[in-house]
Amino acid sequence: MITKRIIPCLDVRDGRVVKGVNFKDLNDVSSPVELARFYSENGADELVFYDITASAEGRRLFTDILCETAKSVFIPLTVGGGINTTDDFDRVLKCGADKVSVNSGAIRNPNLIYEAAKLYGDQCVVLSADVKRVGGVFRVFAKGGRENTGMEAIEWIKKCVSLGAGEVVVNSIDTDGVKGGFDLEMLDAVCNAVNVPVIASGGAGKSQDFITLFKTLPKVDAGLAASIFHFGEVAISDLKKEMKESRIPTRI
């Protein structure tokens, strides 16, 4: 039985993790390498590194960090942020990334998904979609959720999957940061529309939110979160024990 994945997401700027983290056991809480190792040893099933750097120098630091991490962390690594061309795919895959997530880059040029899937396989291409309700309709937002593209989200996601996206991260802007649980309605709509793994993002505030997610929507494959893991509000090892007790297939 395939297990439900728990995925911490690390935002990296100029080679450091931002959104300050807070772990007693870590000496350098903003070192992506140390944090990645910590999560890996404590039960994370996969890691997402999100590059929020704007400069070329920051980008170079990011790939250095990625290489350094891939030398000591042996779980799947997904990289996102600033992926606009297949050269960007190449740059991070060479450093040990296993999957690459595209968001604004695919909105500007949907063919990027097709090109990358042809070169590296569907399993390597992850669509990340920032989605928000506008007048009762799910819309895709670009530029970190600041700009309404006007595109209907479910159609957009279906289109990207048909172009070759092998997984979809659905980030609900409506529930993001609220900590009141995942956006079950939005995720259900996506799960019914596509037959590739769906990763839920946005809204987790406590362990029970993950259990509700997987119990209510068995088609969801993974739950992604950032700050609740970084701030120690939810320890992944405890979360996974609770998932197992709730009879959710879990890797311990």
Binding site: M1, I2, T3, A70, F74, P76, K94, D98
Partner: protein, 205 residues
């Protein structure tokens, strides 16, 4: 020394890093002499069977791998590298493999219920078949490893030493004498994966 065969398929960064992490000397190479002098051989692979088989033959390294296998050198095929060890694959047509393990590679879609997603991607539990294989000496029944694949090894009951349940019993690992294969990625399977590589490095040559 472990030789990871470089025939232009996929990224070998994590694989070589994982051997370094367990303290094993490793080299990524396409040099037949280096492969012949290695203690053990890793045959990696991602992507499509036909393309990989063509590249392996074009490099001439298919012959070297088969010769070394017959000399008794331990060989481990990983993911598509495992599939290449079989006689043939039915991925987009019919293609010949190395034939080091009897059996064929077939679409998962043929054997699993329609509602399950393809590829089989994620962490799944290992179930041992028969006597516990030496490569699993540090692994417990039910430990999880990381899979990404749309085809599986079939018609190879005698060679199967572990399976994973995904709407059907899918071949997870095989062996035939000194030739081993993992459908999953040990280099992406955390401590469990590293312990499988360690055990492979300890198998008798």
């Amino acid at each position: 020394m472990v030789a990871i065969i470089d025939y232009g398929v996929g990224n070998l960064f994590s694989l070589s890093a994982s051997f370094r992490a367990i303290g094993t000397e490793v080299t990524v190479t396409s040099d037949p002499d280096v492969i012949r002098s290695a203690d053990r051989i890793i045959l990696p692979g991602v992507g499509a069977f036909e393309d990989a088989a063509k590249k392996l033959r074009a490099s001439g390294l298919d012959v070297v791998v088969c010769e070394e296998a017959k000399r008794g050198k331990p060989i481990l095929g990983i993911c598509l590298g495992m599939q290449l060890l079989f006689e043939k694959s039915f991925e987009y047509g019919e293609h010949e493999g190395l034939g080091l393990i009897p059996g064929s590679v077939r679409p998962i879609a043929d054997v699993i219920p329609k509602e399950l997603k393809i590829p089989h991607i994620g962490w799944n539990a290992l179930h041992f078949k028969g006597e516990k294989n030496p490569i699993f000496k540090y692994v417990n029944e039910g430990d999880c490893v990381y899979f990404v694949h749309s085809y599986y090894a079939a018609d190879c009951e005698e060679a199967v030493c572990a399976t994973a349940e995904y709407g059907a019993e899918l071949t997870a690992a095989v062996f035939c004498g000194n030739v081993y294969g993992c459908q999953f990625h040990p280099e992406k399977s955390g401590e469990t994966g590293l312990s499988i590589l360690r055990a492979f490095c300890e198998t008798e040559g």
